[in-house]
């Protein structure tokens, strides 16, 4: 889980071109949107692409988005649950 969250932080920085952010600047439970990392709606779409590219996960229900992309931890939990389902 810790390794997955560390990977996600690097992938988020690369995917969203957050050149002034370092992985250690992103807290595991820090909200990714609004008052947290300050991501916007286009970033949300890029996070969906990230899950598809790196983890082969397609989000079937867009209403799950706010829950999945709340934080790095919630993304990691979703990926692990998905991999368990597949596995």
């Amino acid at each position: 889980m810790e390794k997955l969250m560390a990977d996600l932080k690097s992938q988020i920085i690369a995917q969203l071109n957050l050149q002034e952010v370092k992985p250690e600047d992103i807290g595991n439970d820090q909200p990714l949107f609004k008052e947290g990392l300050g991501l916007d709606s286009i970033d949300a779409l890029e996070l969906i692409v990230l899950l598809q590219q790196h983890y082969n996960i397609r989000i079937a229900n867009p209403e799950q988005g706010p829950e999945i992309f709340h934080s790095v931890r919630s993304m990691a939990e979703y990926i692990m649950a998905h991999q368990k389902q597949q596995g």
Binding site: N17, Q19, G38, L45, E46, Q53
Partner: protein, 204 residues
């Protein structure tokens, strides 16, 4: 004026990067030199980054705060529209289309980025012409000033294609200012061609 790894303001060379620096690195270095603290810059396409940086330099030498946000217009032009970003986006379509690239597949997005940065809410338009058409840009800006649609206007040329780039912006005001140049097609041509006009422009 941004051209050939050099940045000018009112004819004076403010900063230059190493000759041959590729556009992405040049833009990043220019951002560090003239601005910083605006993370969204890094998400923009090359055209928006160039126009945004040119506006940053221009407005450090002008006084846009003398005008209401709704009365500052932006009239820009270039040759390649958003083709540079279009091609980059097209390359992603073969795999997974990039939403972040897609939003820059219109040339007028650079105007939006400048307006968001400075809070401008006035009229705006983006022309695509073979070369810089001083008469066209001047006549349109003049119309905005004459019809009270704007009291000031950022005008000029912002072009990016395949790593080649050029930006020439100038600030026009309806009010008269001491030492300001008359807003004429000839003076605008001089700004674009030489980058050596020493004074800001004004209507009369």
């Amino acid at each position: 004026m941004i051209r050939q790894h050099q940045v000018y303001s009112n004819g004076a060379l403010l900063w230059q990067d190493t000759p041959g620096t590729p556009l992405p690195e040049f833009l990043r270095n220019g951002y560090d030199q003239f601005s910083g603290q605006y993370p969204k810059f890094h998400k923009m396409d090359h055209l928006s980054r160039l126009g945004w940086l040119a506006a940053e330099v221009l407005l450090q030498a002008a006084e846009p705060e003398d005008h209401l946000p709704g009365e500052v217009a932006v009239v820009l032009s270039n040759r390649s529209a958003s083709l540079d970003a279009d091609a980059r986006y097209y390359n992603t379509v073969k795999d997974i289309p990039s939403p972040a690239l897609f939003v820059y597949t219109l040339p007028n997005i650079v105007i939006g980025e400048i307006c968001i940065r400075h809070g401008f809410k006035g009229e705006h338009i983006f022309f695509t012409t073979e070369g810089f058409d001083a008469a066209l840009v001047t006549s349109y800006a003049q119309l905005l000033l004459d019809t009270n649609a704007a009291t000031a206007c950022i005008c000029g040329w912002v072009e990016v294609m395949d790593g080649a780039y050029e930006a020439a912006l100038y600030f026009v005001e309806r009010r008269e200012r001491a030492n300001a140049l008359p807003f004429t097609v000839e003076n605008v041509k001089k700004i674009y061609e030489t980058g050596s006009v020493l004074l800001p422009t004004s209507k009369k």
